[in-house]
């Protein structure tokens, strides 16, 4: 059997004392703000350290040269492609012209042969020669 609390009001007092509102120390708010500021400064410093690579003139020139070379190479590649395309178009035009001429001259040959075939008088039924049948 547990002994009964001789004074219940005393427990209540102790609880009240434990849960009573306590004012923060005077510099609490300032120290929290200060710590937040320190964290953001550290983050900024980290960023700056990465970009600081480019603060060196040699690195800056190297980066500039690299970008310039890339741009020039891309420009040359594009120009070559354009040049090749123009040459290809010219070659295509030449090919089409050659085929047109070849086609027209073959057509002329066909026309002439057809003319000969149509103008040739039909031979008599009893007097057929291999030539007249052609």
């Amino acid at each position: 059997m547990t002994p009964m609390n001789p004074n219940p009001n005393r427990l209540e007092d102790r609880l009240r004392q434990a849960l009573r509102r306590e004012e923060p120390p005077d510099r609490f708010a300032a120290s929290v703000l200060n710590r937040v500021a320190q964290n953001s400064i550290a983050r900024d410093a980290q960023k700056q350290s990465w970009l600081s690579v480019f603060s060196q003139p040699l690195v800056r020139w190297a980066a500039f040269t690299f970008v310039s070379i890339c741009l020039i190479a891309e420009g040359l590649h594009y120009r070559n492609q354009q040049h090749e395309r123009a040459q290809g178009e010219t070659a295509k035009q030449q090919l089409m012209l050659a085929l047109r001429i070849a086609g027209s001259k073959l057509q002329l040959a066909k026309e002439k042969v057809n003319e000969i075939n149509t103008n040739r008088p039909e031979s008599q039924p009893g007097n057929r020669t291999p030539r007249s049948r052609s």
Binding site: G88, K92, A102, Q107, L108, A109, K110, V113, N114, R131
Partner: protein
């Protein structure tokens, strides 16, 4: 490779060389110089690699270009010389005969030979046959004010040839199609 074959190989190459060179037809100098007299000159020299490269630029949507791509697929070369003159008699028949004489070898068959007295239009078509297949065609068209020489090197089917004559905006003649045999017969008939 046996020793005998190895020794014979250069000789075989030497013997084969004239056959290979037969593709390189040469224009007589008088004809090659006609460009100075001509009002308009067309010179096209396209060998195999050039043809295949040019055919890459042919559109697959345009019907003419699609047809052209199909035609040049297996060709080894197209060579064209066309001279247009302002006056008649700018070239001589001897010039044309010098050109024709190059095709009097057994490898070439003259399938069409038209001589027209009234309009002066003379056309010759020669086929080069290899293993019963067409390996080349030469067209010589001598008109009063125009002289054209076309040399197509490579395998070309008769139906492709017919397409070549009727496509590219040139109206097709509405007659029954001519086979190479009937063309040859007509040629023989003309020559008689």
């Amino acid at each position: 490779m046996s020793k005998v074959t190895r020794r014979l190989f250069p000789i075989i190459l030497l013997l084969a060389a004239p056959a290979l060179r037969a593709q390189d037809l040469k224009l007589p100098p008088d004809i090659a110089n006609l460009s100075s007299k001509a009002k308009e000159t067309v010179e096209v020299n396209m060998d195999g690699p050039m043809l295949h490269w040019a055919s890459k630029f042919l559109s697959r949507e345009d019907p003419d270009e699609k047809q052209a791509a199909k035609l040049v697929e297996n060709l080894k070369g197209i060579y064209v010389r066309s001279y247009e003159f302002t006056e008649e008699g700018s070239y001589t028949q001897a010039d044309v005969e010098a050109l024709r004489s190059q095709f009097k070898s057994p490898t070439w068959s003259r399938v069409v030979g038209v001589r027209s007295e009234h309009d002066g239009e003379n056309v010759d078509v020669f086929f080069r046959m290899e293993n019963d297949k067409m390996a080349g065609i030469v067209v010589i068209a001598a008109e009063p004010k125009e002289l054209t020489f076309v040399n197509i090197v490579g395998p070309l089917e008769i139906d492709q040839l017919s397409d070549l004559g009727g496509e590219f905006g040139i109206p097709r003649v509405k007659t029954k199609p001519l086979s190479s045999k009937s063309m040859a017969k007509a040629s023989k008939g003309e020559q008689k």
